[in-house]
Symmetry: C2
DNA sequence: CTGAAAGCGCTTACAG
DNA sequence: CTGAAAGCGCTTACAG
């Protein structure tokens, strides 16, 4: 493995000069520059990145923490972030927490280790109290998730409004008995969606029945289970707002299995507008999040923070959300 | 940011001793060990990873090259690899080529830069000729994709057999006019699936019509387009083997739109057994790949190669593939 | 335009 | 059991 010293020896120049041509400095004699470039070619020399990082105190890498990459929402978000990073010569280090708070903290250690220049939290398993100590080691921002108490930049969508939009739509379709099936309320984002549900119900003077509120619901199988519970009710809801398209797909799948018609017997609204939303039958009415824009904005903000390195004014940015109507309502 | 020197000063010991306790060396006086640990706590010290990497000539990171993370096949593969890596203290650096050969080569440069200890190619846009020079800078293996000429370890599935299984199944269902819609033949994996198709057809003495062979087909919209072409044919096929579940889903979606019944008017077989295969209606008969096992095996093999660092005997490993029967056939 | 020297933060023989 | 010294491969003032 060739080093800068090898190039220096081969060309009879100093490592300093070689370094200058590597980094495209001006004030290097043209003929020497060419000589160095030729030698680098011949020895297929590439600068050692650990040495550059150690010396430069910069990694050009940002860590992105998500809960799990197999969730299409995250894979699309990461895809957009990665593109934005590459455009400016940054790398993205993918870290999944698998919903484990401890693991999330371990990933934040990357900042202390100087293995990354900054961290984007797209999933949030800890509270601001746990996160805060890390912020003094480098920029930390949130994307998608947020925390009311946190004092860091956050790029997100108005989840309460999303929940409100979904439920208002169901109410407009004439429903009064509406169920909710979402994640865990400890997470702000989930909690807010439920608040949006309550807001729409209150606005229409409709009562909220405890039995219609399902929490800790995430995937397809959860959706199936929720439907089974609904099916067993004396007076079941006629509509359900699910906190994810996969949950919605599970409800629909199971409903059809039991000969319930969608949307006639049960109407369903999902969340995210994932590809599967238009593949299942009927298509899922859903709340679309501007995933791509959100990812790009978050990565750009992060890179700006790193590049300017000044104390960035703490800011929140909220992106619009809208309803996509399909056959399930 | 505390360094090893800070800890040494604070405790009145040498950096050497501090390093010893960081690395859990034996032969450190117990009381001193505790003193150092306390100081590390207080200064919230974490070793600088660039320094460790530079000094140790090891990164504990492996690069995984895929074409695009939003492809569920890859997100599941990466998920499995990531878990296997974490289990042994390795990190996974995700690199997407977006099907661009040049970008793939740039990712291979990570090996020269010593930013990773090895590379797993789960997507392959270059030929062995281009890849080969990189192999002298560290272990490079293939997972999922393969190349007949390449002399590197490869963990993969027998794609020809997969294609054969799919088409034989259609033939057993009584079909004789069978179309194929897959990727680009420049890729060995794709080419082999088509060979499997030909093999099954030949075995049943069925002719292969050129008009029934569609290549360069990848996503949902490609599937829609393929169906539209089929619909316009004088004598259309009665079945189609698609090189991916998304393509299959596109065909089915468009078929239903035009009132063709699936499988009565057109039977469809997909590939990968992705979640969506059981969500669409009818469910997609598909070829299941042991994605998880493949990912874990590849990562383990890579870590073995890195850890033993000896010249690994060049090996190929082929994993089983099987048919999952659903409503689309 | 060019080079010698110092140093980024660590670890590992080596000597005690 | 412990420490001084060298060195991993680079870049950046500094002096010329």
């Amino acid at each position: 493995m060739a080093t800068i010293k090898d190039i220096a020896e081969k060309t009879g120049l100093s490592p300093t000069t070689v370094s200058r041509v590597i980094n495209n400095h001006p004030y290097v004699d043209q003929s020497k520059r060419i000589k160095v470039q030729k030698a680098m070619q011949e020895l297929s020399y590439v600068p050692n990145s650990s040495a550059q990082r150690l010396r430069g105190q910069k990694t050009n890498t940002v860590a992105v923490i998500i809960s799990r990459i197999i969730n299409p929402f995250f894979s699309h978000l990461v895809d957009a972030m990665g593109e934005a990073a590459t455009d400016r010569g940054y790398q993205l280090l993918l870290c999944d927490s698998r919903l484990d708070a401890q693991r999330e903290l371990e990933h934040l250690e990357l900042l202390k280790k100087k293995q990354v220049d900054g961290v984007i939290l797209a999933s949030l398993q800890n509270t601001w109290k746990e996160i805060e100590p890390y912020t003094k080691f480098g920029p930390v921002i949130t994307c998608n998730e947020y925390d009311k108490e946190a004092e860091m930049p956050m790029i997100s969508c108005d989840q309460q409004y999303g929940g409100y939009l979904a439920v208002r739509h169901l109410i407009e379709q004439g429903h009064t008995r509406i169920a909710y099936a979402g994640g865990v309320n400890r997470i702000q984002l989930t909690y807010d969606r439920l608040q949006g549900y309550r807001q729409a119900m209150a606005e229409a003077s409709l009562p909220v029945e405890d039995a219609f509120i399902f929490t800790g619901i995430y995937g397809l199988s959860d959706g199936i289970q929720v439907f089974d519970e609904i099916r067993g009710m004396e007076e079941p809801p006629t509509a359900i707002f699910a906190g994810g398209d996969e949950v919605a797909a599970g409800v629909i799948k199971q409903a059809k299995l039991h000969q319930w018609r969608v949307p006639e017997d049960i109407a369903v609204v999902g969340f995210d507008n994932q590809p599967l939303a238009e593949l299942v039958e009927p298509g899922i009415t859903t709340i679309e999040q501007p995933t791509k824009v959100m990812g790009i904005r978050a990565m750009q903000l992060m890179m700006d923070m790193i590049d300017h390195a000044g104390p960035v004014t703490y800011q929140k940015e909220t992106l619009p959300l809208h309803l996509v109507k399909r056959g399930s309502t």
